[in-house]
Symmetry: C2
Subunit: 257 residues, 2 copies
């Protein structure tokens, strides 16, 4: 693997581009239809920006699609030549969206990427998939350059992992936000919860989340559940609280008994 | 504050007892109705176990009640003398449960305690409350020995903080568990999510959880939401997924527009 073209200029493109470059891999072009976006990332990566597909070199070893889910299919359809290898980086888009190419695959990092936040990819699981053994080997090698956790998984499995990531990231963050709201209403900063949040995470990793669970719903303390519901300001939040509590209760009183 | 009696022998009693002792405070007795439990903690703290209330010394400066919520009232009612000061450590029990005493208060650490896990209390918020200024000052001093984050809050506020802790700990852990289930079904270990979970936490602390939110529900990508619902095995989980997604969507499309 020597020459890679990055298609896209967002958070995934930036993080993977930087990490590949740090690993000594040649990012020879960055493409974005937005000239400025292409320029910005190209200057970070010290490479050439292009904003038209016809400007792309045609002999790169890999064209790595790092654009939003909805933009993958149109971009793949518009690519004006047969590339050596094309892969996308999405959790939820099937590999078959790239089936018009000879060699194609998926290169999905199980992580959340945000502008301005540097991510160390070395522990991030890379989930790879390809339409043939050679391509799989190439993507595997490339992933191993970035991370020591590389898994070969199917599109169906990847979709499920993406679902797990939504639970673990978006849903978890939503409850962080609801907790933050309660703290703010009591003039306390969200950061006050950091020791609790850190211990919650460490405990779940060390004991597994099933064993780590505690609290009123876990032990079936419906007095406290009702008390908490009464403190919530909207019927939606009340419903949410009792719904998640039920789910916790069921999980522990089905599987433990 | 010189002599403290710990009433209780569970995780809170153990952690607070150890931390007080490390800070040079004299834990002169540990009480539990269960002789063995009292003995275990007393040997950890190198102090005397007692399993009958009449065995308690009556001149300690503080009797710290570290028992389960349901056991607080019966214990307080059964105390066979007027102590200098009594405080409980619960998030959800009101201060008024101790109103039969002259000096009483609450000493609530906003953290989750688990057998076998040592917790550094120095960053843990201690929420204190008392029935008079002197008692408040005593509890404040004691909390400052353990932590640099001490807040004076009312019983009503504390109940809300406990609600926040349920969101931040139990509910968050529940979504860790649902994510772990999905991973296991795909032969991947839960630990593979650690970089994602750690970044989710750090991002929420640094940006605040509102700004940190991403994902299909946040951006109103109902295709992915429907796709994920279809992957879930039970109507309960499907309902849970769509319910939390709705809550995320509402939160961001109400407050952002």
């Amino acid at each position: 693997m020597q020459k890679i073209v990055i298609l896209g200029s967002g958070n995934v493109a930036t993080c993977i581009g930087k990490s590949l470059q740090q690993a000594g891999i040649d990012i020879c072009q960055v493409y974005s239809p937005n000239v400025q976006h292409a320029g910005n990332l190209a200057s970070v990566l010290n490479t050439k920006p292009v904003s038209h597909l016809w400007q792309l070199i045609t002999d790169a070893h890999l064209y790595l699609i790092c654009v939003s889910d909805a933009a993958i299919v149109p971009l793949a359809q518009a690519l004006p030549f047969e590339p050596n290898l094309v892969a996308h980086t999405s959790g939820s888009i099937g590999i078959e969206t790239l089936a018009r190419f000879k060699n194609y695959g998926v290169f999905y990092p199980l992580q959340t990427f945000t502008a301005g936040r540097d991510i160390n990819l070395s522990e991030v699981p890379f989930c790879i998939e390809a339409n043939n053994a050679n391509t799989l080997q190439t993507l595997n090698k490339l992933a191993m350059v970035l991370s020591n956790k590389v898994f070969e998984i199917s599109s169906a499995q990847r979709q499920k992992l993406h679902l797990a990531a939504v639970f673990a990231n978006n849903f978890v963050n939503h409850f962080y936000e609801l907790a933050a709201d309660v703290l703010h209403q009591n003039a306390l900063p969200f950061e006050a919860l950091k020791p609790l949040l850190t211990e919650t995470l460490n405990k779940a990793i060390e004991l597994g989340p099933h064993k780590a669970q505690t609290g009123p719903a876990r032990r079936g303390d419906f007095n406290v559940v009702a008390q908490h519901c009464a403190l919530l300001h909207t019927p939606e939040l009340e419903k949410l609280y009792s719904f998640v509590s039920q789910s916790i209760y069921q999980k522990h009183h089905k599987s433990n008994e």
